[in-house]
Amino acid sequence: MSRSTKGWLFTLLGYTLVLELMLAAAILYWPNFRDNLGAVKLLSKPLPVLGDIIAQVESMGVAAYVVGQHFFKGCNVLGAAAAALIGAAAVAGEAQRGTLEIWLARPVTRLRLASERYLSGQAVIWLGVFLTTLTIPLLLTQVDEIMRLDRLMLCALHQCLFLGAVYSITYLISCASSEPMRISMGVLFFMIFQFGIYMVKTVTHWSVYRLADIEVFHHILVDGVLDWGIAGPMLAINLAGFLGGYVFLKRRCP
């Protein structure tokens, strides 16, 4: 097994396992949460946005709770962190450790190197989300609930486009930089800031997390289709990040 495959599998396994553990814990806690919804609602009063989330769960039931726990909380937090770390290390990591020259010096086109590195990162992020989403119906049987898998997979696709956009922007910066730590910290701080402003009623509409929150996922669950008004631009950012990264890598000196 090659070095890159080993590293890739290790990252995928770690990321998926943590996501799955968070998901399982959340779903198994659902009966308690449902029974104490009133108390939770009272607790969320000081934070109006949190109150809105609780109200959504109250009206939509387990579906809002699951997409909230898995996509909005689990994937948006852990996935964004993974996107920042994997994307930042993609090329800048090679430069920092000094291996950029031997990586580029082989008779392999830069387009191929750029594609492989980009897609392997995307694959970790996407597979983690899809694999864990696949287990939701099974986990729900433990709490006597059901959800449609096809609708959940559409939510997963939307979530992946969102995380993919974060990854693609990070990858683009990585292709032009030699400091993966700075990039990942910068992206992480930005995402934490975005999560922070999501919770503030007056500025919540400025947060990128509005693009992947319970409301968005609820529409997908109900309508059974992606909202291309949101998914389209996210897909475009994914492609632009890759192409921009390739342009930087093409001109890059070891």
Partner: protein, 304 residues
Amino acid sequence: MPSTTNISSKGLTRRFGDHLALHPTDLEVGPGVTGLLGPNGSGKSTFMRCLVGLVRPDAGSAVIDGVTLSGDGVEIRRQVTYAPGELALYGELRADEHLRFLLRGREDEAFGRAKKIALILGLPLGQKVRNFSHGMKRQLIFAAAMAPDVRVRILDEPTEGLDPTKRSEVLELMAEDAQDGRTILLSSHHLGEVDAICENLAFLDGGRLVSVENAQRVRERTSQIVRIWWTGGAPKDAVQVLSSLGEEEVKLQDDHLMIHLTSSDPRPFLKRLGDAPLPAPSAVEHGRISLALLYREIYGVEGV
């Protein structure tokens, strides 16, 4: 000028910001071993990286084994092997895994040949590269660069950091490889390290090509230089006495005298020195010359 040119650069130029790292460089290299010599920062690595397409030249062109440098240089890199001067490797890999990594894009047989070369050099292929010394890493990169069946090899400081025994083994492998009609362009900042196997030497300084000469001619020129030391410094009349012996040029250099002989055979001069009315020298050096001295004394380039 080489009869068959396998590496040809015309006006190859590279600038990094305000610094012109490589002035327009014309160089033609034919079969055999050619040494690219120059001190650190003289532009050797930049020139080599430009040749293999790792650094995009700002101007000029290069043709290697009939392939013109263009795009990301991948077509050129299929025709040549390149051993980088930088020694950063993936420490978590075993040496054999690392050879596979380095040989990606090469013919399948190259891996077997690389392992064979690595074993000749005594490298433990089952060991993680992080446990390798500087010299062992250098040899691993060398083994990967020598394995593919190509006609041109470009090796950036392949003997740097090697002990004298390993250096000889590496030079021997290169000389054998060149005997099969291959072209090897190697760089070094030590004249004496590589010149023994080189047929031609190209000298760079400050990003400029100072000279390209037949290595035998350079050896002859360096063997025309004799340096003499006396305990307590050169006697006051030493320059006058030695000049009268008929040598081309006698110069006082800090603590010793430098004499340019009229021929590369030092014996007649040494005999006259023995007869001269001077105290016995504490040391006499002949034919050993640093790159800095060569640049200053032969090419008139100061400050190297």
